[in-house]
Symmetry: C6
Subunit: 264 residues, 6 copies
């Protein structure tokens, strides 16, 4: 879907990811972004699209996403079939960034559609209509996924992976995360410092008791609830602890860490 006009979305760079993205853009190379849940991948792409003044079309991938959902399909109207472009085809026709979020979730036939767009041909064949679209210079393909909890059955084939330059994202460093929380919630500096410290403590548990570390997004939720006047322990219980686990022992352990942080 083409996002409506909006100002440049706030994004706090972590390293040289903006420059790398721009270099790939100038060389017309497709980009793969790897990283954990809620670390800012989608926000980064929105930021870069605005910065490069490109339309952005985002597709959240899932088990049932077919090639036809990306490329287009025939519909019936007034007794005849007519063709409707999918989001990928629109991006190729009109230029801009086509962003496939969580691409490993998609069905295999979806990723194979990307192949002719990601080699030197840069074409999109539309088998159903017989068209062969040549991507314009200002078309760019970006895909993302989370390597932390890939299924064995759900990973990109080498023949797909080796068509992208790849950027690895991680949770932001404390000073970056502090800036993000301040920008998004308006909470006072002392509470933000406590939240950022807490985040580091909780993330160290990932892989042991937790499937994944707490995301920056959930920290923003906790900060917002605290900024709205809710007691820190209750806000963190609701925004950080309960969303992370259903296991009674794990929940108790996480709650204890929260309580210790906000005991003072």
């Amino acid at each position: 879907m083409t996002a409506p006009e909006r100002e440049l979305p706030f994004y706090q760079p972590v390293g040289d990811e903006c420059e790398l993205f721009e270099a790939a853009w100038r060389q017309q190379l497709p980009v793969l972004i790897k990283g954990p849940t809620g670390c800012g991948k989608t926000r980064f792409v929105a930021h870069m699209a605005a910065r490069l003044n490109l339309p952005l079309i985002t597709v959240s991938c899932h088990d049932d996403l077919t090639a036809a959902d990306l490329v287009g399909r025939h519909l019936i109207g007034d007794g005849a079939t007519y063709w409707v472009d999918g989001p990928l085809t629109r991006a190729v026709r009109e230029g801009g960034i086509c962003y496939l979020d969580e691409v490993v979730e998609a069905r295999k036939d979806t990723t194979v559609v990307l192949h002719p767009l990601t080699d030197d041909r840069r074409v999109l064949p539309i088998e159903r209509t017989g068209e062969l679209l040549q991507a314009p210079k200002n078309f760019m393909l970006v895909v993302s996924y989370n390597p932390g909890y890939q299924h064995v059955l759900k990973s990109l084939k080498p023949s797909t992976r080796q068509r992208f330059v790849a950027l690895a994202f991680d949770f932001p460093r404390p000073e970056v995360e502090t800036a993000v929380l301040k920008q998004e919630s308006g909470l006072d500096d002392a509470r933000i410092a406590q939240l950022v410290t807490l985040a580091g403590q909780l993330r160290r548990l990932a892989g042991y008791d937790l499937e994944e570390g707490v995301s920056t997004r959930l920290l923003v939720y906790a900060a917002k609830l605290m900024a709205a006047g809710m007691a820190p322990r209750r806000a963190c219980r609701t925004a950080l602890v309960e969303p992370l686990s259903d296991d009674t022992d794990t929940v108790a352990a996480l709650a204890a860490i929260v309580d210790a942080q906000f005991a003072a």
Copy 2:
């Protein structure tokens, strides 16, 4: 489905869940409610919707619920296709609470539709029509599930979970459950006290011989049958014991507990 106008549904609060829900509502955060069968999750959401004066659209999720069931689909009429909004799209267009009950039962492509609605974008892209709906301020997404008997294959992905603040529900405390039974059945206080005591005894078996503890709903059924004149042991056998298990030994054990309670 938009519920028809009705008075504020009775709900007996257990803790600060009403305040937490309101805070999430004011901060435009999506809410996840976790808890066992029949503990009042659906009633709580109905109560909060009435209290906040919001339309409520409830969807019971299941194995075959697709993204199209939520978002909408094309139908054919008068020789042409026309679009019909699904319940989620109607809630986004018109505002109000969209409540997805037992969300883990839904297919994966259903939950991914929720992603753009549950980050800072708060948008609903409708791929089939090319629309990108911006959720209004008075739109709120609420989902629930029962962590007690999740399938391994059926759990929320971290990338979905970490988009919600979460409230954990449990069976109500005795004094709360007593108030609920009184309100719903009109049974006398002595019998209600016996039923509430019995509930505690039966729930202690959950996880051992029983998949789940007896719900407040079934206690209401037993109270109603007793209020209608049925003998307590027979009412509890029918409303509490047989619905909980098909295993002969378990049924006998539960019946013995019932008989002991109503022996006096």
Copy 3:
């Protein structure tokens, strides 16, 4: 399907099941009937429907029964789609008993449709048309299943079970079964006594060599063949032994029991 008008179907009560069913009916509680194959569950429901003067709509559940089969679907006619109610929707609109036979065989999306009808809301949301039907006072939902050979993958979820009061059926006691055989076949008393004794002997093998005990229905078949002049051993071989097993040793063992009973 609404059964055509017919006289009160013969039903020989075993205990207080008729009174319990009536109490549930008066309290507007849904009923779950558990019991082995051919013990009279369907006959009981037909009897109660006639006794309470209610229309009866029966649905035999199976693997491919979908929610749309129960609720309704759009058909195409004269170039436009029109809606056709399913049996559940007709029962909710017009009142009466909707009886889902062998409900565990149905797909999961079928049972979830029942949830809003089986809590205090008593509503049937029809997602495809946007309707929300309020069940009338004289609507009652009855489901049945056979706990004896449930698949692991095929059982009612606790969140569904805990919405019903439950009646457990078993094979009828000898005096009851004698009355049933007499009514259905007109066979003489001595032969019926032998058949009822034989039934007890064969049922003791269930769980060991037999998946399930011999049903009252098969006894009626044997009695009918004998009443029509067939030799008892041959009638029992055809109506009781061969339908129960394909295993050569088991068939021989069952035949020996039959032969012993009818040796005198």
Copy 4:
């Protein structure tokens, strides 16, 4: 499909199966026929249908046979949908025998359609049209299957089995098989005697090296090839040995038995 008019098909009775079938017919009981491949089940049903002067509608069941294939479906024509009866519905409407060959191969939803037709109601509910057909007196349901190579996943549920009286078929006794071969091939008596002896030898291997014993049908094929002048060993190799196995050792063992029989 209704078979076109033809003379009474030849059938050589093995025991009292014709009388049992007639008794079931008079008592309006459904019949289940069990037996190995090619032993004459289908021929027996054709014979009985002609003898009782009943139309015969045969359906060969398979993995993809749905309830709609039996009951009927809506087709589109002239811009509107119209209903077309399936073979089961035609048999119920018009009377006659509906014969489901290899019923265990059918999908589960197919067999559940038979339930209301096989209890005392004798009705066929057609959910899609809302009709409830009462079976006429001259309607009879017959099903068959081969217990020898049932899949674990493919067997009749007890709730289905216990709705039929059952006849067990086996390969015909030598004198019966001799009569069949004579009638079908016109081969001379000495060769037929050799073939019948050979059949007994080959059938003793079933369950060890062979999945199933050689059928009467294949014996007829061998007799026909020999009657047409082909050498006995070559005819038996082609008609009896190669159709039974692909395993080199098994084929050699079977061929040795054949060669020994026709060495003299």
Copy 5:
């Protein structure tokens, strides 16, 4: 598909397979041809069809071939549905050989369609239209498969196998294969002798390092490349070695055998 008129296809008989096929044809018996890849099964059927002056309709079977693909289906045109015969139905209506190549690959519902055509009835019921076609005298059904690499899940059921007389094919004897290579490629006798010797060496590896022996077809390819001037080693590497295996060690072993043969 009906093959266009063409001269009698070259076929080099190996034994009495032509006589056996003709005998089956005269006795109206269906034929099953078993044998490895590329040994000439399809060519043999084409040859026999031409020799018996019968139209030939060939269907290559696969996973997704349905009964409707064989029998026919309704299509929509001018606002109404009309029926289109499938290849099997056309062969039954018009006479000729219907040849199902690799029949074990087809779905089960496909093979069950063949049952009424392969017993004494010789009829094709078309359930969707209610027709019951009687096969004419000059209709013959031929099926083939390769027993060498059958899947466990993909084999003919005994109830299907025991409806055919069966011919077992193997790779042709050296003198036959020599004649075939000469006819097809025009290569000189010395080179052909080397290729036939090489074929024997490579086939001895089948079952050990190779899934299947080298086919006569690949030998023809190698002969054609050599006749076109390519060096023998390079031609055999391309036409015999690389098509047989992807395993590095196996490829090296095969290449060594090739090099030894063409060293002189």
Copy 6:
């Protein structure tokens, strides 16, 4: 899709693959190309098509590619169905190369469609329309796949493999790869030499820590990023290391090799 007119695509031959391809073309033999990801298979076919002055139709195969996607299907328009050729049918009708990329990914029914085109008949039967197309002399079928990471369930059946002559591709030799990088990126010779050396080091890890060796395509990406001014280590990290693995230890090991190469 027919590629638009373009100049002869650059291709650096590795051995006699161009001559072999031409010989197969002259003998009308179908060609199978085996080789790792990104080694130039697709470029080679494009080069040969241009050199032989043949139209090229490329199809990227995937899990959901059906025979109908290749052959064609009926669409509905103006109230009637009309036939639309698929890419394979167009190539057979009009002549040229039909190239099926990653053919093992396709469904089985797709490859069986190729059988009649790849034996001496060279025909394409279109079952749905009853047509039987004879391929013209200038039609050629080319398929490719990557034997390095075939699934067990995804390999070509011998009956399909033995219909092709096969060319095995590998990564290009250093001098060839150097020429390719120079042509594609314009990077200076010293840096290209370092990249080619690095490629050899990284490829030696394939099979151990890496699923597949680094492709020539990724080397071109790295060269392009370096030519655009990016630091070599950062360019290689983004274009060579991160696309190859998500495993932390493997990524560190690969990065160490990169750093060593560009330390000087």
